[in-house]
């Protein structure tokens, strides 16, 4: 086993990040509850400022962006946001149009819908829209992405890939994402679509990455100190390659299975936390309550 203390602390554990006032970043594994208690989306509105929040929706990833925009517009309005705006970023021209971009700087919450993360980045990548999103986030705006949106907020994203649990070299493809966070590599619909293989394959390329597999209706929040908290119904799989002592990805053929020694993983559910800087799960003083436990008794349900 590889033991190298500095590796586990390669970010500054004191939290002196280059942008210490970033908003909260929320990554959702897709298929979040939109008709029940909507706990995850409700939490996003809260992070964005609750009844003071000004939320902008970016549905660029979707092929049916008008319908998807309307759905979230209605939900965030129902959940009490002060203002909800749809950013019509449907072409690279749109992404350079000052009239369309202006509301980004006014927003306290940005929401990226699902769809196809490669579509999203082919339209946003390198445009003033992407720059504005990064600036807003660094200035304190909370940003959430679901499904494709969750993958795309990272510096490195899974562009596309195959399902399956046996890691093989060519089963996933990287692409640059929006760059709001550098260390995480996020995959979504994780349990439902059997995506462990491609997450492990991704990490094998560079064990610096911390792989995060999000189940549906399950999300992580990452605060400005890089503390991650889980919210939702399913589980979050975290794969850490820091101690990887052997890995043959650089010399095998495209569809051959990988050999990898010493990967570490964690499974986290609702209420659990993970310290990204220390690459370590937080052992809770008291076990968190199950997801939505006691919700209806408290009269908070729909």
């Amino acid at each position: 086993m590889l033991q190298c203390a500095s590796m586990t602390l390669s970010n500054d554990p004191a939290g002196n990040e280059p942008f210490p006032n970033t908003g909260t970043l929320m990554m959702i594994g897709g298929a979040e509850d939109k008709v029940g208690n909507r706990t995850i989306l409700r939490r996003f509105v809260e992070l964005a400022g609750g009844d003071q929040s000004r939320i902008a929706i970016i549905a660029t990833a979707s092929e049916i962006y008008e319908i998807v925009s309307q759905i979230y517009e209605r939900i965030f309005t129902e959940l009490g946001a002060a203002d909800v705006h749809v950013l019509k970023l449907y072409s690279r021209e749109d992404c350079c149009d000052e009239n369309i971009l202006a509301p980004i700087s006014e927003s306290s919450g940005l929401f990226l819908t699902g769809g196809n993360q490669l579509k999203l980045m082919t339209i946003l990548g390198g445009t003033p829209a992407a720059t504005r999103i990064r600036r807003a986030y660094r200035a304190g705006c909370s940003v959430a992405g679901t499904s494709a949106g969750a993958s795309a907020v990272c510096q490195h994203m899974m562009a596309y890939g195959m399902s399956g649990i046996t890691p093989r070299k060519a089963m996933m493809h990287f692409a640059p994402g929006l760059g709001l966070i550098n260390r995480l590599l996020v995959d979504q619909h994780f349990g439902a679509r059997g995506r462990t293989g491609r997450l492990v394959t991704a990490l094998a390329h560079n064990p610096y990455l911390l792989g995060v597999g999000l189940d549906e209706d399950t999300a992580i929040e990452v605060d400005s100190k890089r503390m991650m908290s889980v919210i939702g119904r399913g589980s979050v799989t975290i794969v850490d390659g820091t101690e990887m002592s052997y890995n043959d990805i650089y010399r095998i053929s495209d569809h051959a299975p990988l050999s990898i020694h010493n990967m570490r993983f964690h499974l986290l559910t609702h209420g659990y936390q993970f310290d990204i800087n220390r690459r370590s799960p937080v052992v809770p003083a008291t076990p968190p309550l199950p997801f939505e436990a006691g919700l209806y008794a408290e009269g908070e349900g729909i």
Copy 2:
């Protein structure tokens, strides 16, 4: 992270096992090649003594045991075994019948077919047949099991369970197996059927176990020193819970997802080794050749 040196050496690393002369144990992930080069089955014949081998087939796990027996009988004969015998252990009465059992003690190789491991154990469990199989193995007879047979040779087996990669408390059920090896818990058809969830769930019950997920047409050999070697087309996933520092399985509801901190895993492919006593993969001096590389060039193919 839990650090406890004695845990990683809880068996005697010097190899002073209570039965130092056991045969080789081969566990196959199911669907092994039966018509091509038959590398895995060929290797079993070699382990059993090649042209000196006396192989007995146990098809009790299968509902179509006569057909399955015939298939393996033909293959082992074609692969050069000196003698191939079908053990007609189809009821608990059969498993007490001295005439049927006698060939077990004469065998140099025992082969357990696929089917249903619970069927196999409900018929063999607690009978003289099971005792004879254990004695033969301890006296040097090589034993192979494929699919259900691979699960059943262990002390603790996965009796049945659900597919899926999110571990949940009630997604698998233990049952006692044949008891040829104590520490391994084996699951098969691993990649094809997406069975990571139930293997992790199993380990959460007692991290003493070392979880082994076998892909189809892929096998492990375990020698008398508890050194494991991989042979075949797919990969072998090894899950080690020794360092597990948090695990909530004892207090969550049946279908809730688990929270687990600090599990370790390894992926091994053809030619790689794992030291079970030390719970550690062996880093090869030179990387093994890919599965069946150069086979046909050497004129060894069919």
